[in-house]
Amino acid sequence: MSGTRVLVGTRKGAFILTSDGKRQKWDVSGPHFAGWEIYHVKGSPADPNRLYASQSSSWFGQIIQRSDDGGKTWHQPGTPAGEPTTTPDGMPKGESNKFVYDASSETGKPLTTHQWYDGTPHPWEFKRVWHIEPSLTDPNTVYAGVEDAALFRSTDGGKSWQELSGLRGHGSGASWAPGAGGMCLHTILLDPSNPKRIFIAISSAGAFRTDDGGQTWEPINRGLHSLYIPNPTPEVGHCVHRIAMNPSRPKVLFMQKHWDVMRSNDAGESWKEISGNLPTDFGFVIDVHAHEPETIYVVPIKSDSEHFPPEGKLRVYRSRTGGNEWEPLTKGLPQSDCYVNVLRDAMAVDGLDPCGVYFGTSGGQVYASANAGDSWAPIVRDLPPVLSVEVQTLP
């Protein structure tokens, strides 16, 4: 029987939950990297035993961790797994956490500043990796979305990283500004039908697409309307919270913007609002059913200052019509006095049938539904605040 592995990043460590295909009983391992912020853990689609984790702290900066055995053991790429590096001779370079912006004249248009919150120029400063996206085909190729916003790629299993500087250099980078959570590149979607096409999203610059493997980029924000900025329809400057795609239809994208849930049928060339009857269209997460590309999920949050569910009721909303018509999913979720948040990387779906849906909260619960959202149960409930949830469907 196939199995499921849920990878949870929290404010104070990573946790790995495993179950069989029934998804009723769960084993919890962790905390891994206890005491560190784990923004994201994700497995390679090409090798489910290859996991990457972003580990960071305000004190000691960024660390990249890698597992080659499904999370049983971890090491920093370039250093021996679980062993001290005690001999100076022939030691690998400790560059798995070296994220240096490309300032060369050959490969881009080096930018020295972006906008700060008050509109003044601010130098680009690396803070952390928000999101790790392994290649669909090569376990050693992996992308990293970082704060301050940029996209990096490793082709050696995370030992070294190079910026795809065409993104920052495409022309609007100097006008990008941070959202409340920082100026982060938080979403990376790889197009399974076109290895040269990548979608990314930045808070609060917006969404971008490359069709040449990351050399050149274009903003894809037409149709977005953001009332909270002076010009509501700029080419860049939208606070996109998350984009999701069903791999079977890579031109159809769904977006949870700061406010508004949006849909594109043309790979981001244009967007239309599909918020419909949602109780609030503010939120962070959005995801798509693994087998039904018109079935999507969001978790409405009351507002941009009140980061909790409306009425204290934790409700996932599901649309089976590709948007506009939404139904609340409440069975098994707290329906009173619930004031948690669900952050942008904290929802995932598995590939089983029926599709499993998972999300984690700022209160440390990870909820799962083994029936596409009809009913829910906490599969662990007292973790540190959850930053990210990913799921692997194991053979």
Binding site: Q76, E83, P84, T85, G94, E95
Partner: protein, 98 residues
């Protein structure tokens, strides 16, 4: 032999228990001690000082012989007691919490 005391999180990254002992060639300074530390434990690169600028990370401090050396020049000689191994060079995470 130079003795270095690392904070718990960095000891775990480096897979060491207790003090680290290093041989430092030439003058014993913050820079030469950290160079030797990172050469032996490359996984610590970037965690104490920036990869490129070599500036101390903001929430990391250096102490030795009861003195705060965080703001001393990187190439200033460390106290003789550190150079002889009588006292450790301490890498300390800034205090946070309540």
């Amino acid at each position: 032999m130079i003795r270095v005391i690392l904070p718990a999180h960095l000891r775990k990254l480096a897979h060491v228990d207790g003090e680290v002992k290093l041989v430092v060639e030439g003058p014993v300074t913050q820079r030469s001690v950290l160079d030797a530390l990172e050469a032996r434990y490359p996984m610590l690169q970037g965690t104490i000082r920036d990869h490129v600028t070599k500036k101390r990370r903001a929430f990391v401090r250096f102490f030795a012989c009861g003195e705060d050396l965080s703001h001393e020049p990187a190439d200033a000689p460390l106290p003789n007691a550190v150079a002889t191994g009588a006292e450790p060079f301490m890498v300390v995470g800034a205090i946070a919490g309540g």
